[in-house]
């Protein structure tokens, strides 16, 4: 029940965040987009057509009024406006493509967890050995590779030279592998480095010595006592990397020609199709906020000390008075 209340509270707190995000984006887009009516009609349109379109798009209203209308349409009708070029509803376009992007980002998260955490743990336990040195060096390489470059290299090696995997498109499991790696490997290196330092810190704690003093096997000491305690910073980084993976998907989808949200946004930027860009970025911002909420809930599962955050302010005050 307390958890439920907490989630509701956090979801409500997301509202101003999202509204603020939309406002900033709206102002930025307005500053760079030029005159939309001119963009849509091209140079050869008559003044009448032009005036009519401006009226239709509501471009004659003050900017805050337009912002208010935009937000109101989203809230009341789930309407993100229409594309300036195709006149199709943006909401439809986004929702159609979002699962692909979410899938790609999840693929990246999967790779980052499966590679990052085990290597980080092993590297910390074998500190100063060749295993550790190798892992740290690989980590350096991993974080230093930009994903647009890595994606192209992977295509050249695995698709063109070796011919093992398809280079572009999105039609089956095999198509997920290269983009997934491209999205995940950077983050895997970051997760690995965080895991390593967090585990190194925990491994020296007194309670780990207590566990050993109980006669516990080394393996269980590491998994049960060290890793569980080391998880908090790792979770934080994974949450942040999820945001980066969503952003990375924008680039990676373009490289691999994947019909996802990212490619949708990039194409729209090229054409200055403002409603699509805005709608897409707003959805990504909401996603990021939700992921952060999930991470905060996971904290509480991992660490009982974090569970006090579920108590409302009133209850805390009451307890403080009682004490």
């Amino acid at each position: 029940m307390q958890v439920f209340k907490y989630v509701i509270k956090r979801l409500l707190m997301m509202v101003p965040v999202v509204l603020g995000t939309i406002l900033i984006l709206y102002l930025m887009m307005m500053a760079v987009a030029g005159d939309p009516a001119e963009l849509i009609l091209g140079e050869n349109a008559s003044q009448e057509q032009y005036d009519e379109l401006r009226e239709d798009l509501g471009l004659n209203d003050p900017i805050l009024v337009r912002y208010g209308k935009y937000v109101w349409d989203i809230v009341s009708k789930g309407d993100f406006g229409n594309s300036w070029y195709t006149s199709k509803p943006v909401a439809e376009g986004i929702l159609e493509r979002f699962p692909t992007t979410a899938g790609l980002a999840s693929c990246g998260i999967f790779i980052m967890i499966v590679i990052g955490i085990p290597i980080g743990v092993i590297s910390a336990i074998k500190q100063y050995t060749w295993v550790d040195n190798l892992a740290v060096s690989l980590g350096m390489v991993g974080v230093s590779m930009p994903n647009f470059w890595l994606g192209l290299e992977l295509i050249i090696i695995f698709a063109l030279k070796l011919g093992w995997l398809p280079a572009s498109g999105f039609y089956g499991p095999a198509y997920w592998i290269l983009p997934g790696i491209t999205v995940g490997i950077n983050s895997a290196a970051t997760v690995m480095r965080t895991t390593r330092s967090s585990v190194l810190e925990c491994v020296r704690q007194d309670y780990v010595r207590t566990a050993r003093a109980k006669g516990q096997s080394e393996q269980k000491v590491v998994v049960h006592h060290v890793l569980r305690n080391a998880l908090i910073p790792i979770l934080t980084v994974i949450g942040m990397q999820f945001g980066i993976a969503l952003g990375g998907a924008v680039v990676v989808e373009t490289i691999f020609s994947i019909p996802g949200l990212g490619k949708y946004i990039v194409d729209a930027i090229g054409k200055r199709d403002f409603p699509i860009v805005l709608g897409g970025v707003v959805l990504l911002a909401i996603c990021f906020s939700v992921v952060n909420l999930v991470v905060d809930l996971l904290y509480a599962i991992v660490d009982p000390r974090m569970r006090t955050q579920f108590q409302g302010g009133k209850k805390k005050k009451k307890e403080a008075k009682a004490a």
């Binding site: 207590t210 003093a213 006669g215 006592h225 569980r228 991992v302």
Partner: protein, 328 residues
């Protein structure tokens, strides 16, 4: 005849730090009989905890390493024992109470489960419910209601946490208990409670105990034998009465001198001047010579042997024998 449970001979433990070697424990000999309590007294950094960790096989490696000597426990040399043998002994036959209760418990595990862990490890075949039941009993034993099984360490006070640490150490009725400053982190009233508790349990279970402390008051209350340790060396060793009434080593004298006394009307204490020598660079002769008021040239020339100055009373001082008359 009393039976010998633990015999440490010539134990040397070193920590290697970059290019220098820290000589934490140097040629230590100790003996402990069943049911007996030995006090290990010395100032911070003297190597007390390292000796206890050496017995547990838990000297952090790297940088620490047992360089030489033997630790014979119940006929088995713990230095040469395999990891598996050590794991079976740890927590069951030998267990350790750690110094700082605030950090010695896993913050994300229920306290009951932390006790249950050690019970399950050493009672293979015991069901989870039985182990939990036994963990509850152990909690009650140290005076914590069993209903608090499901709570986490942060929900307990320091004294209660220390009692939980003690409960973990006692859960499997160990033959030897290594208590590393069990009361240092506690205030005086709780300290008395905890000592009383340990004494009671010791009598009940006939456990031997190695009590590490720098509090001579605690030693007087708890121990039959005392070893005074300085810079990784035993400087005086014997029955508690010997140490208290016929102090032979100048360092031990210094320790007593720096204690406040209820009887005396002293307004200032007499501290031991100077600092412990750097364990990376120990003096060649007597380690205490640089701070000793009685030090002569002879003290600084070569290592001073540990000499039995009276039956069962050992002292590492060139001038100790002169005082032998005091036994007559």
């Amino acid at each position: 005849m009393e039976k010998e449970l633990l015999k440490i001979s010539d134990l040397t433990i070193q920590y290697s730090v970059e290019n220098s070697v820290c000589q934490a424990v140097n040629h230590v000999d100790l003996k402990l009989n069943r049911g007996e309590t030995l006090g290990l007294v010395g100032e911070t950094g003297a190597g007390k905890t390292t000796i206890a960790l050496g017995i547990m096989g838990l000297v952090p490696d790297p940088p620490g390493r047992i360089v030489g000597g033997t630790i014979t426990f119940d006929g088995l040399d713990l230095v040469k024992a395999t990891k598996k043998e050590l794991r079976e002994i740890r927590g069951k036959k030998i267990s350790m109470i750690f110094q700082d209760p605030m950090t010695a418990l896993n913050p994300i595990d229920k306290v009951g489960d932390q006790i249950r862990e050690v019970i399950e490890l050493h009672n293979k075949g015991m069901s989870k419910a039985e182990a939990a039941k036994k963990a509850c009993d152990t909690l009650e034993l140290v005076g914590i209601p069993a209903e608090r099984y499901d709570e986490y360490p942060h929900q307990f006070s320091g004294g209660m946490k220390q009692r939980i640490v003690i409960a973990i150490a006692l859960a499997c009725n160990p033959e030897l208990l290594l208590a590393d400053e069990p009361t240092t982190a506690l205030d005086v009233t709780i300290q008395a409670q905890v000592l009383e508790l340990m004494n009671g349990l010791k009598r009940k279970l006939n456990t031997s105990m190695l009590l590490i402390t720098h509090d001579l008051g605690v030693v007087a209350e708890m121990c039959e034998k005392v070893a005074i340790i300085y810079a990784g060396e035993i400087v005086e060793y014997g029955e508690a009465e010997h140490i208290y009434d016929r102090t032979a080593h100048p360092y031990t004298e210094g320790l007593f001198g720096s204690l406040p006394s209820v009887a005396d009307e002293r307004t200032r204490l007499t501290p031991i001047g100077g600092l412990m020598p750097d364990p990376m660079n120990l003096p060649k002769g007597c380690k205490f010579a640089p701070r000793c008021k009685k030090a002569a040239e002879a003290c600084k020339e070569q290592p001073v042997p540990l000499v039995e100055i009276a039956p069962g009373h050992f002292c590492r001082c060139l001038f100790a024998e002169e005082k032998e008359g005091r036994y007559e």
